[in-house]
């Protein structure tokens, strides 16, 4: 059997039978994204590795947690990674050590070694669309959305952090998300 040709859902179905090669193939596909998600939230390579390990082993131990009817596997896995990382950040109270400013335009590592180039190429279109949508937001709207989503800050905390009225932060979140939904309308239909 040629594992790289199997869909995520087919690989997940094989995980129920403790198929280690299916698991390895899922790691090939998502290892970099899962680790990068952990790193973006935690801001620390060791903690990002811990999050990635926990995420993949939970997948291995209980693949039935993924329900295909609820959406695409990749988005589910990465959202679960992000949520777990945010929980840990909140628990550890590590916020003072993490960046609070938004990043400039993001760039891909020049020589990133992707284990499954065809799969990453397919996913990269979606990634490019999302990143473009985020980058074209007004800076102050992008900033509050990033602080909330990747930083785990509440809107009250953001207001305090940026020394802005809470109403202003609420408006920025709402307007920013409205624009994101419009820019991502085609992708959202696929989800």
């Amino acid at each position: 059997m040629d594992y790289p040709d199997l869909s995520d859902e087919e690989l997940m179905a094989r995980l129920a039978y403790r198929d280690i090669e299916a698991f390895e193939t899922l790691y090939e596909r998502y290892g970099t994204l899962v680790y990068s998600t952990g790193l973006r939230v935690m801001g620390d390579t060791q903690l990002a590795e811990d999050i990635a390990q926990e995420t993949f082993l939970r997948l291995w131990r209980a693949p039935e947690r993924y329900v295909p009817e609820r959406g695409r596997f990749g988005t589910w896995l990465l959202s679960a990674t992000r949520n777990r990382a945010i929980d840990q950040v909140r628990t550890r109270g590590r916020r003072q050590n993490r960046e609070v400013t938004t990043e400039g335009p993001q760039k891909e590592p020049a020589a990133t070694k992707m284990a499954d180039p065809a799969f990453i190429a397919q996913l990269s279109d979606v990634r490019r669309t999302v990143r473009t949508a985020l980058q074209t937001l007004p800076a102050e709207q992008r900033q509050v959305i990033e602080l909330a989503y990747y930083g785990g800050y509440t809107q009250k905390e953001i207001a305090s952090l940026l020394d802005q009225p809470l109403g202003t932060i609420k408006t920025r979140i709402r307007l920013g998300m409205q624009k994101l939904r419009a820019a991502l309308a085609a992708e959202l239909k696929e989800q």
Binding site: T32, L33, Q53, L57, L78, K170, I173, L188
Partner: protein, 85 residues
């Protein structure tokens, strides 16, 4: 809470940007309001896509080895299954 009040907070809710004192009343409302629930699903789908915007960083090969070795070990302890052919 009224639908209008809830509607104004659904994006923040989807981003996880509300404190527990705010999420409680919203969840009570959502339990009874299909319209707001549908709006929330749209917000959640958009928020979930944000995870794809992270800059990519390659993990160490050691991480992969550690994860696969641990998974294989746990499978063996549980009585095996479909191992690599």
């Amino acid at each position: 809470m009224l639908c209008k009040e809830v509607g104004e907070l659904l994006d923040a809710y989807a981003l996880g940007a509300l404190g527990p004192e705010e999420t409680g009343p919203i969840e009570e409302h959502l339990a009874d309001c299909l319209r707001c629930w549908e709006h929330l699903k749209e917000s959640q789908k958009a928020a979930a896509l944000l995870v794809l915007a992270v800059p990519l960083e390659q993990p160490r090969e050691e991480l992969r080895r550690r994860i696969i070795a641990q998974a294989a070990k746990e499978a063996q302890q549980k009585g095996g299954g479909l191992e690599r052919a």
